[in-house]
Symmetry: C2
Subunit: 341 residues, 2 copies
């Protein structure tokens, strides 16, 4: 039984660093593609046996120290009443985006058991199949990040609709975030009840906001969720592209702060204080480089993280073009190097 | 004759702040759309009369204090031998991207007069038509930012190809950057000869790199260009998404540093030192908000910039969905507020 990840999250000392990779169940693996070719992405999310199978693939084939539920951060938005499609090449699409207070009537806090029960079934099945081999993370998006997709109608380059609404009608927009926070809290409480041993919150687009607006807009609904989950399991907060926000994160009441590759971990630690376990932050494109570069950069990463507790991970999701042998090399390098004092 | 912009760049005192907007000649104006409906984007760039007409529109209809050449940062890549298309909805596409040292044979330093003479003709025509009303900026992309498009084959989400090449074969990739630097230096020298009174370098994707890699990879070719242009006209360096890079920018030998909206200008100034004129940095989505919000945020921006010289601008290009009256309100507000002590 490998509980390194949970022990690091709890602040306990460990014999070596745990390592896992964001999007580790993904297209870079031929075993994943074989399943994906036969099933739509949403079908995979909604079929517990398939979700469990791909969740376990990187544990068995890459040797990571934690599993993370195969799902999508946008599933609870569909449960709230927003039609969601995954379009080949374009990613997620909400054909009827929510763009004003008047549109709020089209979404509601759902009965999470009735609408998202398939996620809970998947978690229970994965826990059973893992049988204690490694811990299992659940996850969700932060309300701000979920709102960017729901308001833009999918991914965006300029984020004009969501930023525009947030300036034009801050009170109406706050109502949307509050709905998203309540839904997320219920959804993630359910994940914990179903067996998730830690929860990662993805604030992928938090870095779009300046410091004051992040504090005023994005932070309150995160705190609402965190207050509901705190103490049950370790909480990981991931934020991308947020060097300018680090001073704001100092007081965030979560155990683990997960950051992208833009700043070395020792500088992140200086900026946020010593309280956090840090998670990250190898540039995922390093795994496209030759083996010797992967080993060198992994070594540097572990060195930069030595000032405190560290869960080794990438700074963003593993790229679909990654050679699985390179992913294995990264994982193995962490496990070997960090075991030596 | 309004030379506020140039006087601020030279460090002279001014009676009020100059203001212009990135992408100010653009789709938010019906007068621009009327021309764009009749001509392809590349045709507009390559027809000096059309480029001149849209360059002047925001001077005449919005009242900005500087004109910027209507062109695209990717034009010199086409001149280097890379086929370039603008595809409706997808933006720029290079059907045959450059992804390895072997591909370098497909691009070369061009005869800029022969291949980009239309840009120089446009600049001469614009200067003549402006007749001194406001200064005229030329511009180009930094080699790193140009490389992201040429290697990815267009815009990208993960930048796996360009980052992957930069890790896998740093020497070969440096050769590409060197070709891009030499081309850019020649191209921008030509712009100055043709009448550009300042040059803005767009490092739109510089913020993808961590601090050490930005210094090792992106900075040297920028310095090569800057060394060639320095002292001829004021140089503006624009970088987006780069709070983590600010300490590296302190010594950059340019007059003006232009930043996005993620950090208030007083904090940017603390991070980079007092030497720079700062340009920016209103969040372009503020212009989607009601008039009172635009006035309030513009007032805050001017306040944040008071610690030193300031060219007022947006933090990124104006959005196509902006109401032109809102753009005019922004410009007028700067011109009025900053004139009062």
């Amino acid at each position: 039984m490998n509980d390194l990840f949970l022990r690091v999250c709890r602040g306990e000392s460990v014999e070596r660093l745990p390592v896992w990779m964001m999007r580790q169940a993904g297209r870079y693996m031929s075993e994943y593609r074989a399943i994906r070719e036969k099933h739509g992405f949403l079908t995979m999310c909604k079929t517990p046996e398939l979700a469990a199978e791909v969740t376990l693939q990187p544990v068995e084939l890459v040797g990571v120290d934690a599993a993370i539920l195969f799902a999508d951060i946008l599933l609870p938005l569909e449960a709230m009443g927003a039609e969601l499609k995954f379009v080949q090449g374009d990613g997620p699409v909400f054909p009827q985006p929510i763009r004003s207070t008047a549109d709020l009537g089209r979404v509601r806090v759902p009965d999470v058991e009735a609408t998202l029960g398939y996620v809970y079934d998947a978690l229970r099945l994965i826990r059973k199949e893992l049988d204690g081999r490694v811990p299992l993370l659940g996850f969700g998006g932060t309300p701000w990040t979920l709102a960017t997709y729901l308001v833009e109608g999918g991914t965006s380059k300029s984020f004009g609709h969501v930023l525009g609404w947030s300036y034009a009608d801050p009170k109406g927009f706050a109502k949307l975030l509050d709905l998203l926070a309540e839904t997320s809290a219920l959804y993630l409480e359910g994940q914990i009840d179903a067996g998730a041993q830690a929860i990662q919150l993805f604030d992928t687009w938090g870095g779009l906001l300046d410091r004051r607006r992040w504090r005023e807009i994005a932070l309150p609904p995160v705190l609402k969720i965190v207050e509901r989950l705190r103490g049950k399991v370790p909480l990981v907060y991931y934020i991308r592209d947020a060097a300018h926000l680090l001073p704001e994160l100092r007081e965030l009441p979560v155990e683990v702060l997960s950051v992208d590759w833009r700043m070395p971990l020792d500088e992140v630690r200086s900026a946020v204080g010593g309280r956090f376990v840090l998670q990250g932050n190898l540039d995922p494109t390093v795994l496209l480089a030759p083996p010797e570069t992967i080993v060198e950069k992994t070594r540097e990463l572990i060195e930069a993280g030595r000032g405190g507790a560290h869960v080794v991970n990438l700074g963003h999701g593993i790229l679909p073009t990654t050679d699985p042998d390179h992913a294995r090399l990264f994982v193995k390098t962490v496990q070997e190097i960090s075991a030596t004092p």
